[in-house]
Amino acid sequence: MTITAEAAVPVAPAPDGDDTPAPGRAALIALLAPIRPRLIAAAAFQVVYAISALVPFVCVAELARVLLSPGAGGPGRVWPIAALAVAGLLIRFLSFGVAGAITHFADADLQLHLRRRMAAHLSRVPLGWFGERNSGHVKKVLQDDVREMHHLVAHAALDLLAAVVTPLAALAYLLYVDWRLTLVVLIPVPLFAAAFAIMMRGYDEQMRRWSEANTRISSAVVEFVQGIAVIKTFGQTRRSYRRFAEAADDFADFFGAWVRPMLRLSGLSMAFISPPAMLLVSAAGGALFAANGWIEPVDVLPFVLVGVALTAPFLVLDMGSMRLRSAAESAGRVAALLDTPPLPEPETPVRPVGHAVDFRDVSFSYDGTTPVLRGVSLSLEPGTVTALVGPSGSGKSTLAKLLPRFYDPDKGEIVVGGAGVRTIGSAELYHHVGFVLQDVQLLRTSVADNIALGRPDAGRGEIERMARAAQIHDRIAELPRGYDSVIGEDAHLSGGEAQRVAIARALLADAPILVLDEATAFADPESESAIQDALSTLVAGRTLLVIAHRLSTITGADQIAVLDGGRITERGTHDELLAADGLYARMWAAHVRDDERDWTRR
């Protein structure tokens, strides 16, 4: 095996490999299913290529036989053989080209197919899946891993096929010419095999050490690069750099120590089967046989010409093995992503009637061990406002997220308009339930399309009306291309402005039930009051579930539910809860006090 530097490309970069099992053969075959007919066609061409590759060699041998035969060798016998050789070259070239073109175009289609399939799948997995991974992971699988599979799809299978067919054909031809000399020519193979076996001893252990070292340097790189801006602000650049430099030196030391013995053995084993060595054995063996009269001198030529082909595949396979390995690992990650269980969709969807919401004895845990919600029951009457309050970690955001089915509860049920959310089709559910999140991120597309996210068919007039209601129309009109300005390109909106775009979006979608994270940023006072006006417009007349952070804003709610440790501990109106003198009353007292506190006063 040649230790190509490809081995050095981090095969399993960074310790994010939570789901990188060795890909099962079945999983791989399933991934390739959409292009299987084309792969088979390509394989057929590849077989033609593998066999025709020998034709020119055989022709040269035959040509020699003709030219050397005493008295013979007229043009009538020479040119047909030469023509056949050139024809062989052409067929070899064409079939190789066609096979390669088929797999490469098939690969392009497969890439699109897999990316689409994964995107569609990701739209159906529980949102919690995204919480456990960063978006970089998704990007890595959808983009990098799919691209990495290229070698597997476009090259590996074809290379393997040629590597098997060509030597077999060559072997058959040589056995036909002279079986004894064939055996002699094969002598280097067991030598190579022995050296290779020694080298492969403890290969798994070697690879394990390699991937450990790789993980160490990867995390050193990540830590150094990601943290450097912060580290610099603490004036510890030298220290952090030293840590990185040490890790880099360790890695270089390891790599040197790791690769050197392998390099030696691989040099040795390759020497046995390298083309010069094979030529030498063929020529020497042939000379010996000819000297003893066992064969005609001219019969040595096939061995000199084709003998090299016997061992060529060992070289090829070895070159590709690292790439193949990383391609297979990528395929494993793609398969694992597609294997993530999606949120189940109902088979016969039910239509909700009315806008009442009922949480019935709902329990939920993110990790299956730490309960976040324990037996929560709560009813939202149509057209009323319900506020969720409680300390951070009390489960109020989690409870709100169960309503638009970002997660399914472990126990209990959520009923919208008389139908359990699991029995409502997701499109139907989102017609009924809207959501305004705290952390608004707009899409990199026009402002108009951002507002029309929930109703792509909405006209410009409607979009503008909603933008006015959300107090953002004037700002949009100031943008270089107005509503056609693209977010992040010629529309740079502040946090507060983005929030108002999100409110316009919710207004246009016009869902009768709304989940709202009351978190108007302290962007700047002007922006804040505009957001507040926009929110007041939005919530009017809807069934509202609001995650409240600042108690003063929700004192007028129809009901306030106080969560503590995943349970509803108090419920009532602002006045009722103050009178009850429990957790809410204490939170209110703290709120009033802090609102007036000035920490810069000394």
Partner: protein, 573 residues
Amino acid sequence: MIGELGAVLGREHGARLRRSLLAMAVYGVLQGLSFAMLVPVLRALLSGEAVGPWLAAFAAVVVATAVASYVQAQYGYAVGLAALRTLYHRLGDHVAGLPVGWFSADRVGRLGQLVGKGVMDVMSVPAHLLQVVVSAVAAPATVLVCMFVFDWRLGLAALLTAPFLWLAFRWTQSLVQRSDTAMDDAGAEGADRVVEFARQQPSLRAFGRTADGYDLLDDALVRQRSTLRRLLRTTLPGLGTVALTVQLAFTAILIAGCALALGGAVDVPELVGVLVLAVRFTEPLLAAADVGGELRMARGSLRRIKAVLDTRPLPGTGSARAGEPSVELDGVGFAYDERPVLRDVSFTVAPRTVTALVGPSGSGKTTLTRLIARFWDADSGVVRVSGNDVRDYAPEDLMAQLSIVFQDVYLFEGTLEDNIRIGRPEATDEEVREAGRLARVDEIAERLPGGWQARIGEAGATLSGGERQRVSIARAMLKDAPIVLLDEATAALDPENESALIDALATLARDRTLLVIAHRLTTIAAADQIVMLEDGAVVERGTHQELLDLDGRYAAFWSERTRARGWRLTQPA
């Protein structure tokens, strides 16, 4: 490319690189020679002469080739390892000297790629790729020379194909290069859309846009495929032409040889030998075509590494000594991407006083604090910290003056405690805990399983915005620098979070010089000085009362705030 490699590696490795190149060239020539040796061996064999001496010579060349192969591999890897080490150090060294402002999220992502995969790419050039290229030139050239020695007419036939080969190579290269750029662009767009798609799942779902309805992603993916198909359509003919031209050499020799043999103008045993040689002639060329992709990748990485190394670090390695802890801005102007952000800003924060910066978003408040910390240098005017121009400090001395509590708090993959300790790594456990307690991080530790040892960061427990800022305050407490730059959290906080944060800030502000970007005006009414920024310029300055009396922009701001505070989502039923 070898020149670029040499430049990046530096002079001390030049000799090594040259030695390795020489070994590769010797190996290539020996490869060619070992093929050429076939001709006399076969001629002797076919014409019935003594084969023994030729075989012995052949064996000697083959052994020499094997030795050369071994030696050049060792040399190549030695250079590769040297490249690995040198690049890590040079990149690390250089990056450590770049201004903090250079490290945008985008750059950090690319730098991570570059230090990881990029360095490996470059290493593979001397370790592995270069040999293939050198052999592709040296071996066929040697064979060609030998052919001329055997029979000049056959040699000439082979030589005539060389220009075609060269043209085909160049043409294909230019095709591939052009398409590569298009592929990169399409790939970047696709990757961006995938990240957007993943990040925005909640809103996409809430508005009924699953993958089917999300055209932005699908369009990008389709465009990626069509770009790839276009790449294939343009480059496959090129690659095919190369493969075809490579065959041309063999065909030319074959036809010329047959014609000569039929005319009786050539020694037939020797012709047969040359024909066998012609078969071998082109193999190294095809191997070189195989590694073309990897070479291009390595070259791209090499260029990007060079670009990073060419970025200028902030000038100045002064040795100024800090005086009383103050901050002074004197006519400071700054533009970002040619867009002016600050214009002629002047004010002073006296030692142990509090100055609040207020103003609408986009007015330049954050940029101002970053110039004080020297994330960038001001375009005009002077920023002074503790009596000296920031450019006259050694970077670490400047940072020793400042504690920075900004909104984008970076948490390491590590324990809660580690994340505080970064403020002063040599601090004792007690000191770390004490700082944590003062910043009310102890409450976070209580909440998390694992307490102080709980792992946080992207792959660990998530902390809310307020909690992250408390960690950041704990770092600042531990660091204990005399000047504090603070960007107040804008995110809405739960009452108990807010209460903890206010306690922590009050403790941090005590006895220090403080410049705070205030988002909640109520909290800064007692500041010694309030500076109001608008469009990058100071429009008003004074105490809270002075500015209210002035009845200008700040007063308007204040009344908006008062109105906003009285807001109710719904009126009582």
